[in-house]
C-alpha cells in the first residue's frame, strides 16, 4: 500500500525538478544561517549561486561524523533555538553524541516519511503496532510512534526490553505489527519458546527490523521463528532517524524517500561519485530539513543503488540492504572482512543459529579471528569427532567465502550475551 502516491510514484524527471528546487533552497538557507557550512563552502570555493540542478550537489563539501560531533550541541542549527520543538541524539558511545534538532515542520516530515515506511508493510488504522524500539533520546521509538499516529494505527509504546512483558502484551493486546532490532526479535522468539508461547498462533503479521546490520539468512530465521514478514528499515540520527529508506513487501531493496533525502554512492577512498549499481559509501543530503540540515553526510554504510521502478509501483530509488560499514570493516591479515559476511556464511551452515561473536586478536605480527558459535541441539552430537567435523565444516565455509582462515569455537548454549538493543558482535583485542 502506497501512502503518498504523488511523491512515491513520481516520474523521475519530475522528481529531479523537485529535488533541484529543494537543494537550491537548502544551500541558500545553510549558507546564510550556519557559519559551519558557509566556511566549508567558502573553502571549497562554491557559492549558493553555483547550485542550480540536483547534479550540482557534487560541488558541495562532505560532512563527516567527526564534524557532526565537533558542532555539538547547537552549532548546526539553521533556525532559532526557540523554533526547535524536539531534540534527539545518537548514542554517543564513542564520544559526544550527534544532535538532531527538529522544528514543527521537521516533525511533520518525519511523521510523513514514517507513515510511508509503515505503509510499505501494509500497516493501516486497523493495526496494532507493538513498538519495541527505545523511547527517549534514541530516534527509533518516537519515529515509529509518529508514523503510526499519522496512519491512525494503534501504537503500543512499550519501548525496548522487559521481554516477559513484551510477550504478555503481544498475546493480550493481539499486536500484529512488531518494530525492534532484528537481534531482539530473535531474543523474543527464544524467550517465547521457553514460556511455551507459539508464535504461529499469534496475529503478528509484519515486522520492521533495523538499527543494526543484518543478513538475508537472519531474515529467513526471523520469518520462520516469528511467523511474520520481516522488512528492513533504515535510518540514522544524523539525517532524521528511521524513515530514510524502507523495504516494501517485494523485499527487493529499500526505497529511499528521495524528495526529502538525496542519496549518492561514492568511493570512500577517492570520494568520487560511482555509477548506478556500484558498491560504495552511501552519502545523504537532507533536502527539506529545517532544524539541523546536513549536506552530503558520509554515512560510512556500504551499499549500492537501483533506479528501476519496483514491482510495487514506486519509482523511488532503492538501496540494497547495508553490506557493511567502512568503519566496521575488519582488516584481517590484509583482507577486508565485514561481520555481515561472516553472519551470512554461518547461517548457511545447517543448524547454526545467529548467536555468535567474533574475537579479533593479534599474536606476534599475525591477526587471528576466532568465531564463537553457540552449540544447539540440532548441531550437537555425542561423538567428539562429529563435533570436530562441525567446527571444520564452518571453518571451511568461512574460508571459501572470506579468503582468510578463522578458528571456530563451539561454546555452550546461551553463553554469548544477549542484547535488547544492538547486538555486540565484534570484540577487537588488537593493540595497534
Amino acid at each position: 500500500m502506497i501512502w503518498n502516491d504523488h511523491y512515491e510514484t513520481m516520474e523521475r524527471d519530475r522528481l529531479k525538478q523537485v529535488q533541484s528546487r529543494s537543494l537550491r533552497e537548502l544551500v541558500e538557507r545553510v549558507y546564510k544561517k550556519v557559519p559551519f557550512y558557509r566556511r566549508k563552502m567558502d573553502e571549497q570555493g562554491v557559492k549558493p549561486s553555483d547550485i542550480n540542478q540536483i547534479i550540482d550537489i557534487v560541488k558541495l563539501p562532505f560532512t563527516t561524523k567527526q564534524e557532526m560531533r565537533d558542532v555539538y550541541p547547537f552549532k548546526l542549527l539553521a533556525v532559532d533555538l526557540s523554533d526547535i520543538v524536539e531534540i534527539h541524539t545518537s548514542s554517543g558511545t564513542t564520544g559526544k553524541p550527534v544532535v538532531d534538532a527538529y522544528t514543527l515542520r521537521d516533525i511533520d516530515t518525519w511523521s510523513e516519511v514514517m507513515a510511508r515506511t509503515l505503509s510499505m508493510g501494509d500497516v493501516t488504522r486497523q493495526d496494532i503496532v507493538q513498538n519495541a524500539y527505545g523511547y527517549g533520546l534514541f530516534t527509533g521509538g518516537l519515529g515509529v510512534h509518529y508514523g503510526a499516529r499519522r496512519i491512525g494505527a494503534n501504537v503500543i509504546p512499550i519501548s525496548g526490553g522487559n521481554t516477559k512483558r513484551q510477550l504478555m502484551i503481544m498475546q493480550d493486546f493481539r499486536s500484529n505489527v512488531l518494530t525492534c532490532t532484528p537481534s531482539y526479535s530473535l531474543y523474543l522468539a527464544e524467550a517465547a519458546l521457553e514460556e511455551g508461547i507459539d508464535f504461529s498462533k499469534l496475529p503478528l503479521r509484519v515486522g520492521f527490523f533495523g538499527a543494526e546490520p543484518w543478513s538475508e539468512g537472519m531474515r529467513k530465521e526471523i520469518e520462520a521463528k516469528l511467523h511474520l514478514k520481516a522488512l528492513d528499515i533504515f535510518g540514522l540520527t544524523e539525517i532524521i532517524g528511521p524513515g530514510v529508506a524502507q523495504e516494501c513487501m517485494c523485499q527487493d531493496g529499500l526505497h529511499i524517500f528521495e524528495d526529502h533525502f538525496y542519496p549518492e554512492i561514492i568511493d570512500p577512498e577517492t570520494e568520487r561519485l560511482l555509477p548506478e549499481g556500484e558498491k560504495g559509501e552511501l552519502v545523504l543530503t537532507t533536502l527539506t530539513k529545517e532544524g539541523t540540515p546536513v549536506l552530503r553526510y558520509r554515512t560510512r554504510d556500504i551499499t549500492y543503488l537501483n533506479y528501476k521502478t519496483c514491482r510495487c509501483g514506486r519509482t523511488s530509488v532503492r538501496m540494497n540492504r547495508i553490506l557493511g560499514r567502512t568503519d566496521d570493516m575488519l582488516i584481517i591479515r590484509g583482507v577486508n572482512v565485514f561481520p555481515s559476511q561472516i553472519e551470512e556464511v554461518l547461517l548457511q551452515v545447517e543448524g547454526v543459529e545467529p548467536h555468535y561473536q567474533l574475537l579479533i586478536d593479534r599474536k606476534g605480527q599475525l591477526d587471528s579471528i576466532e568465531i564463537q558459535v553457540e552449540m544447539i541441539e540440532k548441531l550437537f552430537s555425542d561423538e567428539i569427532k562429529m563435533l570436530e567435523k562441525t567446527e571444520k565444516k564452518i571453518e571451511n565455509a568461512l574460508y571459501s567465502s572470506l579468503g582468510v582462515h578463522s578458528k571456530v569455537k563451539l561454546v555452550e548454549p546461551k553463553s554469548i550475551p544477549r542484547s535488547e538493543g544492538k547486538a555486540r558482535r565484534v570484540i577487537d583485542k588488537r593493540q595497534v
Binding site: D382, I384, V411
Partner: protein
Amino acid sequence: MRYQLSIFMENRPGKLEAITKILAQNNINIRGISLASAGEFGVVKIIANESDRAYEVLKKAHFAVSKREIVIALINDTPGSLHDLLKNLSSNNINVEDCYGIVLEEGEKAAIVLEVEKFPEAERVLKANNITVMSDTEI
C-alpha cells in the same frame, strides 16, 4: 533398556561442576560418568537413575544434551571376560563406538557400558551368550 545422556561442555574449570550441581539440586543420582574432550570442548556422558528427568532439567538449564540407548553388561572379574564379550559382538559384526567399565566387586563382577550402532541386536547377542545385561531397575 537404559539411556545415557551426553552433554556439550566447554573445557574450562567449573563447567563439569555446573552440570553435577543441577543434578544434585534435583536429587538425581549419577550411576556412571565418563568424559571425553577435544581441545576446547568436551562431551560428558552420564548414566542417571532417572534419565528422563535428568534430560529435562539439563535442557531447562540450557545445556545441549542428547539421549541414547546403551547396553550395560555384567561380566566376571576374571581374565578374558571382556575379551569373550567383545568377541561375541565382533563375530556378529556389531561395532563398539564407545566403551568404559569398572569393577563392582573385586574378583567377582564388573560392569561394562557399551555404545553400539546396532542396539537391539547387541542386546540379543549378549543375552544369547549368557551375558547378563542390566535392566532399568537394577541401575
